[in-house]
């Protein structure tokens, strides 16, 4: 069974700018770097958020106030940061509760890119 982003299309050799502005290949993201990408995307689409207050345990909806429209903005932001094209069919099946779920989504994108 494919992962949550099993059919992601990725442009070759893409690099990701992490929170500390260093560039890392999408396929080489560590957990910490994936978290950095997520925090960057969250603060980009929700300017009220401060990166220092973000934790992986926070709930996207209940704690951060992210709604479905914000979720779409977030996915667009992640597409840009990761230089991938997200595919409808895979995204329709995922349900994210926490920031950690979002980090795992980015990790799965990284994993796919490495294959």
């Amino acid at each position: 069974m494919p992962g949550p982003c099993g059919q992601l299309q990725q442009s070759g050799g893409a690099a990701v700018a992490t929170q500390d502005s260093s560039e890392v290949a999408v396929s080489d993201l560590s957990r910490q770097q994936a978290t950095s990408v997520v925090f960057g995307a969250l603060t980009a689409v929700m300017p009220d958020l401060q990166v220092e207050t973000l934790t992986e345990g926070q709930e996207l909806y209940a704690d951060l106030g992210l709604d479905s429209l914000g979720f779409v903005r977030l996915l667009i932001e992640l597409e840009g940061k990761l230089s991938v094209q997200l595919v409808d069919e895979e995204l329709m099946t995922i349900e994210l509760v926490t920031v950690a779920d979002l980090v795992e989504l980015v990790e799965s994108i990284s994993l796919r890119a490495a294959k």
């Binding site: 209940a62 479905s68 429209l69 914000g70 409808d88 069919e89 349900e95």
Partner: protein
């Protein structure tokens, strides 16, 4: 209006043998006016948000469809080939000059109308139903549910779902469900399951029935019921017939065709008139004309015609509001009479939504469009006149547009150059003959707002907005 030359020169239209007037792209006003991108209120600023702990976030729409509502990059967005092929079954739609109507009115104007009623389902709603069903089907969704007011959207979605092998379930506002039984037959003929709303199938419906067993229903309620059903089935999704930017985008095939058809006649309108439910038929015809006018550096007047029973623009307030009775969809800033307002039953059920969509609302707020409210008696008179002179019976909603257009051309001075007007006839009225018959028999009454209900609803709307928590150091976003 056409996309950039490199796109137009792709040869796809000619190769497929399609009528070259059928647009190959949707026109995206958000490219020209990115300030209209919808901004939703953060749920964290609502009291009670903490009660939603454990609630996950899931896409209701396919990502490629949802992102259309936020796209500010592309002025033209390609229409999938499969959707163009389906459009080719009924597009381009006719654009005609209403010569006999001009003569009957004796006005100093050239009146053109675009007719969207000449397809199987009878209205413009098919333009977005086919597109949405295509994206949902491709994303692996098995069933679509929706709420419908007049029933035009429900009919269109039922047909589109049948084409795309999707199951379809429709919650139809009770007042029109009972007015138009034949339209329900049409939805069922296309394989849809149709429920009267409020129903006892959902908590939203049961709550409405408990409050008033004889409730006539609202589109917000029917939509809430559809959303509630979708929330309990992972293979089911909610589809929306108006208001969202992507829906207006799909409808721009109307205005793009009109630009081309008018150009063939050497014309460009001074004024565009369309009825206003949440904004899809209005946006569909008006936005490409607005873009073309700005390209040509010429002024254009856009007039939205609403029902006097539901005057969301002319009497509503520009506030954050819920769009449905369930309250789970994004909370956007719109011109609204308040989501608890129950408009009196009128035959133009498609104009009974309590609020305009966010894009149309933003345009009204910045003065890009004008609005007028028309009583249903005036609209039926205009609809019958249009039928007598032009041989087209407009849907009750479209009859409001005709009435608004007559008002506009009647005020144009004789000494000036003739006013060139384009009005969109969004659907036919052949399934509304009982309404026209009642009007002809003198049985249709003038219907205005329920003043007491409106006052209560606006109070609740203001209280809701006052309860929004301001983030530290910031005011409520403008």
């Amino acid at each position: 209006m056409s996309p950039e030359p490199d796109v137009a020169a792709s040869g796809r239209v000619a190769a497929a043998g399609r009528d070259p007037l059928i647009p190959t792209h949707w026109f995206n006003i958000l490219h020209d006016r990115p300030q209209y991108v919808t901004s939703a209120l953060s749920r964290s600023r609502l009291s009670g948000a903490a009660k939603l702990a454990g609630h996950g976030i899931q896409l209701q729409q396919p990502f490629s469809l949802a992102r259309q509502s936020l796209n500010t990059t592309d002025r033209f967005i390609p229409i999938p080939d499969e959707v163009i092929d389906l459009y080719a079954q009924y597009r381009p739609t006719p654009l005609r000059r209403a010569v006999r109507l001009e003569e009957r009115l004796g006005v100093n104007a050239r009146i053109y109308y675009k007719y969207e009623g000449a397809n199987l389902v009878g209205s413009h709603k098919l333009n977005t139903a086919l597109a949405q069903a295509y994206y949902y089907s491709r994303a692996g969704v098995k069933r679509l549910v929706t709420g419908t007011g007049a029933g035009q959207w429900g009919t269109a979605l039922a047909y589109a779902c049948q084409i795309m092998n999707l199951d379809c379930e429709i919650f139809w506002v009770r007042s029109t469900f009972r007015q138009k039984p034949v339209r329900g037959d049409l939805m069922r003929l296309f394989g849809a399951t149709v429920h009267e709303s409020p129903s006892d199938l959902t908590e939203v419906g049961r709550a409405a029935l408990k409050e008033d067993p004889d409730a006539i229903g609202t589109l917000a309620g029917a939509t809430g019921e559809a959303l509630a059903l979708a929330a309990h089935d992972s293979e089911t999704r909610f589809a929306v017939g108006s208001g969202e930017n992507s829906v207006l985008l799909h409808q721009t095939v109307i205005g793009q065709e009109a630009v081309s058809q008018l150009a063939l006649l050497g014309e460009f309108p001074d004024c565009v008139v369309a009825c206003m439910g949440a904004g899809s038929n209005f946006g569909g015809v008006a936005l490409p004309l607005l873009g073309a006018a700005e390209d040509a550096g010429r002024p254009i007047r856009l007039v939205a015609v609403e029902s006097a029973a539901c005057p969301k623009l002319t009497r509503g307030r520009y506030r954050y509001d819920l769009s449905d009775a369930l309250g789970t969809t994004p909370i956007t800033k719109v011109y609204s009479l308040g989501s608890t307002y129950v408009p009196p039953a009128v035959y133009a059920g498609g104009l009974r939504h309590h609020s305009a969509g966010p894009l149309a609302s933003a345009m009204y707020a910045d003065g890009s469009l004008e609005a007028m409210a028309i009583d249903q008696l005036t609209s039926f008179r205009a609809g019958l006149l249009f039928c007598e002179t032009e041989g087209v019976l407009p849907a009750p909603e479209s009859a409001h547009a005709v009435a608004g257009m007559i008002d506009v051309v009647s005020q144009h001075p004789r000494g000036e150059a003739p006013l060139v007007v384009l009005v969109n006839i969004s659907g036919h009225g052949l399934l509304d003959l009982n309404a026209y018959r009642s009007f002809a028999a003198g049985e249709v009454e003038s219907v205005s707002v329920d003043e007491a209900g409106l006052s209560r609803s606006l109070t609740a709307l203001e209280e809701f907005n006052q309860s929004i928590v301001e983030p530290a150091g910031q005011g409520i976003p403008g």
